[in-house]
Amino acid sequence: MVFSKKSLQFILAALVACLPLFGFANETQDSLNVHTETTAVAHGHEEAHELDPNSLEGRKAKIDAFKMHHVLDSHEFSLFENDGQHFGFPLPIIIWDNGVHIFSSSKFEHGHAVAESNGNFYRLGHDEKIYKVESATAELSGDEHHPTNEKVLDFSITKSVLTLMVVALLMFLLFRSLAQSFAKNGGISAGFGRLFEPIVLYIRDEIAIPNIGEKHYKRYMSYLLTIFFFVWFLNMFGLTPLGINVTGNIAITAGLAIITALITNFTANKNYWGHIFWMPGVPTPMKIILAPIELLGVIIKPFSLMIRLYANIFAGHVVLMSLIALIFLFQSWVGGPLSFLLSFALSTIEILVALLQAYIFTMLSALYFGSAVAEHHHDDAHH
């Protein structure tokens, strides 16, 4: 049998792409529904469960609710759900309300019930925030998405926090064993080290040294390596079917960006501050104009770091979810293969984006550190 390798791969890909076609091909009934029921557009702002779940509007509302649910942090680890039945596990709730209250998030029954702890009653809002209510039967007052009830300080181990902990532990064990394997093997990597050593060297030789300089780069290497692998691992975890969205959460990217900003400003030498407040080499009136702009730049730099990572991952997740939702929107044989092909292509790009965003975050952090420790002579900058 002589087949060129490429065409074989193509046939295989085409076959896999057609798989959903057979799965959905016999549901001709539903494809008719789409066309007939688009006319019955529901008016007003209604919730997903109040609409007919089989109408187009109902499905759209359901998809929107699901997307919203996915991109938000959550108080339980829900792997998947089917007809209101949740598969997953609850997480501990830790709140401060005149004393610490600790209880399991299963008490909320996925937001349908009031949780009681030491005589206080709490309810989970639609925005995944915990609100205080008066009694065991009370509903949240005010608008569905912006309740007017009193909020409590929430220190819960949420889905994102759990993932952060897991990734931190994973990284600790991974890189600890990596370091030990170097010691055992006499400076030659083994096992995981084979995979990660080139990446570590790349960060040192291509990111840290060119941007920070030979003299100072060692101080920042630990942070740069940590941030690179942390962001990369979190991005990759977000692409697994576990349905977690950690780096697509603005609070977490803000935390990372703030650490970068703190390190930049606290390790900066006098040249850095000199360039901000009294830019050398320009006329005096220009110096006065430049000072506030440069000062603003101190805040804008970490802000752009935060927004870039958050928006890239968030947008990736939303688009991927929308493509998967095509199946439920079309409800005909078109939806399956189309959704499969598009989401497969996008997932491939997302793997690249996961690495690229980790790289960009590390690169820009190194750039900012480099500007903080740059010596007076800019002419012979390392490049």
Binding site: E206, S304, I307, R308, A311, N312, L356, Y359, I360, M363, L364, L367, H383
Partner: protein, 63 residues
């Protein structure tokens, strides 16, 4: 006031798209002229693209 904001965000995104496109195109030209400098050009290209991208995202979230 919703529509002008959305249009403004759209304009910014168009600008950011043109900007990133120009960066990519110029980087291609540069790599074609000097293939041995590919690594350096790619690094500079990614940084510039990331900075513009940040503005585009800021516009989307401000709208």
């Amino acid at each position: 006031m919703e529509i002008p904001r959305i249009i403004g965000a759209g304009l910014v995104v168009i600008g950011a798209g043109i900007g990133i496109g120009r960066i990519g195109g110029s980087a291609m030209d540069a790599i074609a002229r000097q293939p041995e400098a590919t690594g350096k050009i790619q690094t500079a290209m990614l940084i510039a693209a990331a900075l513009i991208e940040g503005i585009g995202f800021a516009a989307i979230f401000a709208s």
